[in-house]
């Protein structure tokens, strides 16, 4: 009998989970709300810590989901559960029966305009980390005109009760240093500064990236959180922060400011999540059973989670969770 597994989300987590589930003999079906597979990572140019092209990871993932049922531009409208499993009604009017559901719905990028004092959407030369990544990929962004002085702001929308997000978004420190180095590659004569509270270089090779940032790229890391951004008469940006290691407030004029936006749970899935009986944790992400042995489980039997829907994660973390969720689902189906 065909054992359908409904996978909601066609990003890294959803694709990898589907690939593994298929290898295990089950029948994954991917529902993706946008018009393409790949999720956020498909919009990325290169990956930390070693500047690996993102497409070298995304392309094989896309290749291995070939032959798996994928429904693009589709969302789940309604989902019901009975003794037989799940019945999902899709936005295209179709109904899918499934034995288990994998939520791989990922994250939304923090909307930078919510942090008004940083001036995104007000000043022309304030951009987000995602927009900078697009610039690296396409070479095009009207706001980036041979900048002489560039600043990066860490923790935008993270570690900040004022926006309601007290968690650390985990990957933005490393991304900031990666992008800072890349800016030096594109604009070797520019001065590049990053403003951090703590540099969280938590993974293998990340500290090497930090060292490279200092030694090979001459990026200056200043320990202080930017508190205000304004524009001067020449249309350049003026930022204020405290250089906490020097113990003095500091002002600096910049041509470009890059905001390292945090991850927030993708909220477009809230209704379905509620119907499935999966709660949020205190950070507003999905609550898994526990963060150790139950990382892929939820309070509801047959409903599983993988990737950044439960917390901010790096790509390797996400792939690892997607693989482990496949095993969990396989065991669940076989022990029923």
């Amino acid at each position: 009998m065909k054992e359908n597994i409904l996978i909601i989300g066609g990003g890294a987590a959803g694709m990898e989970a589907a690939t593994q589930l298929k290898k295990l003999g089950l029948t994954p079906i991917i529902i993706e709300k946008s018009d393409a597979l790949g999720g956020h990572i498909a919009q990325w140019d290169r990956l930390f810590p070693a500047f690996h092209p993102a497409k070298d990871v995304v392309a094989p993932m896309l290749e291995s989901v070939k032959g798996i049922d994928v429904l693009l531009n589709t969302e789940v409208n309604d989902i019901q559960c009975d003794a037989d499993g799940f019945k999902a009604v899709l936005t295209n009017g179709k109904t899918i029966d499934a034995k288990a559901v994998v939520l791989a719905t990922g994250f939304d990028l923090f909307k930078a305009e919510r942090k008004q004092e940083y001036g995104y959407g007000i000043y022309n030369n304030v951009i987000t980390s995602l927009e900078l990544e697009k610039f690296f990929r396409t070479g095009k962004d009207e706001r980036i005109n041979n900048p002489k002085k560039i600043g990066f702001v860490h923790c935008v929308g993270a570690r900040d009760v004022k926006v309601g997000n007290t968690y650390c978004s985990k990957v933005c420190c490393t991304t900031a240093l990666k992008q800072a180095c890349e800016m030096k590659e594109v604009f070797p004569n520019a001065e590049v500064y990053t403003f951090y509270m703590d540099l969280r270089m938590f993974g293998p090779g990340y500290e090497d990236l930090y060292l490279k940032t200092q030694r090979d790229f001459d990026v200056k890391c200043i320990r202080g959180r930017v508190c205000e951004v304004s524009e001067n008469m020449d249309g350049r940006l003026v930022i204020k922060a405290e250089d906490t290691l020097f113990g003095k407030p500091l002002k600096m004029t910049l041509d470009l400011l890059v905001l390292m936006c945090s991850m927030e749970k993708n909220k477009s899935i809230d209704k379905i999540q509620q119907q499935l009986g999966v709660a949020n944790n205190s950070d507003g992400f999905m609550q898994n059973r526990d963060m150790y042995l139950g990382m892929n489980g939820t309070a509801k039997d047959g409903v599983f989670v993988a990737g950044t829907c439960t917390a901010p994660k790096s790509l390797p973390d996400t792939i690892a969770e997607a693989r482990s969720v496949a095993v969990e689902v396989f065991n669940y189906i076989n022990n029923k």
Binding site: K162, M197, C227
Partner: protein
């Protein structure tokens, strides 16, 4: 006989000897006083800090390092405008703590 030598006083913060009474008193009514992550936002945005040494971040440290007199002197620069409270990412009620210190 005087050889021209003398003992310099230690420049260490003597953590074994410092008096934390004021800090501990503050902590009772302002438990968030322990949650500062030293980001410097309060100092950078401080109205008084533009012209003086005023820094709430450093005041907190002074109180925890036995430099209460220095802290109280610095507080005199504060205009109680409350900008620091607006920017603190830990949501510390800085203006209230500043008032409580002088009480």
């Amino acid at each position: 006989m005087d050889f021209g030598f003398c003992l310099s006083p230690s420049s260490h913060v003597q953590m074994d000897k410092i008096d934390l009474a004021t800090f501990n008193r503050l902590k009772e009514t302002n438990p968030d006083i322990n949650t500062c992550i030293a980001c410097g936002s309060c100092t950078a945005t401080c109205t008084a800090g533009n012209f003086t040494e005023m820094s709430f971040r450093r005041i907190l440290l002074m109180l925890q390092r036995g430099k209460e007199d220095e802290a109280k002197k610095m507080i005199q620069r504060c205009m109680l405008c409350g900008k620091c409270t607006l920017v603190c990412p830990r949501g510390i009620n800085i203006r209230k703590i500043l008032l409580d210190i002088t009480r």
